[in-house]
Subunit: 407 residues, 2 copies
């Protein structure tokens, strides 16, 4: 088999961890596989470099930031190759450029445009282990170094697996896989054996930090078989694959939560057409990412309240812009609520079964938890509640949908 293995920051976070990675790579090679390894920067390194830059410049140029940040993964790649060599296995390290990872010019959040992978392919064919610096690429024209944004090494691994037509892409991290809920909150949470790309996408975007959303989207689009597992032991991990019939039998596969959102409400907006459009055009123009939106019409039908959620880190900026727009619209008041939480249930089974939403609302009500906002998609239901009820809600929903039991 041709396997792409990706090791995150904690998995290469010390010399001991790098040696453990080398051992695992060696085992995989000895089992008869060809292996390409993608590594992140040693844990803490990227933040250290960002810290240095932010002390030197108020708004450091993104091109320079990319040159700076890409160095962490280069160091990891060289060290990992050296550790693999020390086990008597031929190994070569490759930068994003040497791997032929071509991106657009959007520094610090570049998109991969293509991967030639010529040298990786040659190294693998010659029997060597290729170790690739994750998170980075180069622009086609000037050959400037770009980075792919937080979690970008996942994307490097998935995109490379696709380019190399790998049989499997293994994402090694510090957890054993994808769980039915956060095990820190729900001790009965069960590691899923497999989960569909769509479910993983909802789980990833809802706050389960195992995999970067873009890499799951990429894997889905190009049908790259993924497995998430721990680099600290030999547990089986969770496969992320195309939806199958068996999955559809399961109503809900996981419960997740996100405490990093804030709610903004504009009260008493005159109920005229085009108001919402005006508001959200300005919000988007300021670079704020809106997640949920709810609009209520007042009893007299003359004014509306509009609530929406944005990332907690953008609270102040959001409040400022919303106040400005509210004034222009002739609205009464703006309210910011930060101590909220979004709790969601996810499962491809919802496509063919109904009643999940009402069971969720009932369960929350039974525990005295008020629902502030609701949003649904084909395979998920999300409720915004007061933050203090988060753990209670997750546990109650986990129990209600019997997630502690394997399907």
């Amino acid at each position: 088999m041709l396997i792409v293995q990706k090791y995150g920051g904690t998995s290469v976070g010390s010399l001991e961890r790098i040696r453990a990675v080398a051992e695992r790579v060696a085992e995989t090679v000895r089992a008869g596989n060809r292996v390409a390894v993608v590594v992140s920067a040693m844990s803490g390194e990227t933040d250290r470099l960002i810290g240095l830059a932010s002390q030197l410049g108020k708004s450091p140029d993104e091109r320079e930031m990319d040159l700076l940040l890409s160095s962490g993964e280069r160091v990891s790649a060289a060290l990992t190759a050296i550790a693999v060599q020390d086990l008597g296995i031929r190994s070569m390290s490759f930068t994003g450029r040497q791997s032929g990872i071509i991106t657009d010019t959007a520094h610090t959040r570049a998109k991969i445009e293509k991967i030639t992978g010529e040298r990786i392919r040659k190294a693998l064919e010659s029997g060597a282990v290729a170790v690739i610096a994750g998170f980075q690429g180069v622009t086609e024209g000037t050959g400037d170094v770009t980075t792919l944004g937080r979690g970008g090494s996942d994307l490097t691994a998935v995109a490379l697996a696709s380019a190399l037509k790998a049989d499997l892409c293994e994402i090694y991290t510090d957890v054993e896989g994808v769980y039915t809920a956060d095990p820190n909150i729900v001790p009965e949470a069960r590691k899923m054996e497999k989960v569909s790309y769509d479910e993983m996408l909802e789980l990833a975007s809802l706050g389960a930090k195992v995999l970067q959303t873009r890499s799951v989207e990429f894997a889905k689009k190009y049908n790259v078989p993924l497995v998430v597992k721990s680099s600290f032991n030999n547990a089986a991990g969770t496969f992320i694959v195309q939806e199958d019939e068996e999955m559809e039998k399961v109503l809900v596969s996981g419960v997740t939560y996100d405490k990093n959102q804030s709610r903004l409400t504009i009260l008493g907006v005159p109920d005229k057409p085009g108001i919402a459009g005006k508001l959200f055009t300005q919000i988007a123009g300021a670079g704020l990412v809106v997640d949920m939106i709810v609009q209520n019409i007042s009893p007299d039908g003359k004014a509306a309240d509009i609530s929406f959620t944005i990332p907690r880190t953008d609270s102040r900026k959001g409040l400022e812009i919303t106040r400005k727009v509210a004034g222009e619209l002739g609205a009464k008041n703006v309210d910011l609520k930060e101590d909220i939480s979004k709790v969601s249930v996810v499962g491809v089974g919802m496509r063919t079964h109904s009643g999940v939403a009402s069971r969720m609302f009932d369960t929350l009500a039974r525990h005295g938890i008020n629902i502030m906002m609701i949003s649904t998609s084909e395979i998920k239901v999300s409720c915004v509640i007061e933050a203090k009820y988060t753990e209670l809600a997750v546990r109650a929903l986990h129990e209600e949908f019997n997630l502690e039991k394997a399907a």
Copy 2:
């Protein structure tokens, strides 16, 4: 003027130091100059990376070492560019590759083959400050990253100055220039206003650590005007330029010493032709660099004693090889002496004046210092003495040749 400024590891060793570098660059720009800046890794970083690698592999692959080590200069370059930008001056960082620094494939000690410098030239023409990661280049064929060996950033700066036809190459370091002797030993030592390339070459190779020898050779070959100065203050520094008439009037320009050598002696070598050739072929074959060689014929003319010096770090290896060869040659014995020191006087004036050597020998004799070996070149005389006399010898020679007084 077009000026290339090179800042060493201590000059970019902290955020405060990088800010100071940015200030100096900004001043130079505001004075109407175009500036290309070459930076080393932050002090200690290269050693830290070597330490990591050596803990992971007994003999790390040199190709991987180069990828690893080159990251330190990239970080410095990005941070320096950010600091310059923060002062309101446009600046861009460039890697060895982006600077078009093409080297041979001798990893960890590559030689620069050519510098295209296209992007640097464009950046400078557009009015931006170009910040270049020193110490590194890429191979022409595979585009692998190479490094130029210790002190390689000096070479980057000099070679770049030559390629850009710069008016001046400024080497910023933690000393104020080149001194007539080590100021730690001779308080009266005087900073030289200027020194010739040839003198600097002898001084550099004799242990004055201000400038890497290869970069001085390069500067001499391509006639690049150099100045060595401190990044910690605004003192004038020492110019390193082509020899002129004024310099020739000065008999001796500096006294230097090297405590990092050992002496090996083979006693009672049968006096037959080809013996020395055999010995030094094997020594060189083992990668040992021999500095001085002295051969004495014994009074009866039948046997000879051969002494030579090698770097102290190679003492054990040298002793082993020499013992083996001595056995093969039928020599009597091998003697290793480590507590030696080489003291030298340097000056282009020696080309046209005689008597320097005898004055040196007399001075040492007058202070009761025995001379163990002697070697001379056109512009220097070196004596190997017991290490404990080093400071005394340097002070005595500094006084004898009146170096405390400006010429």
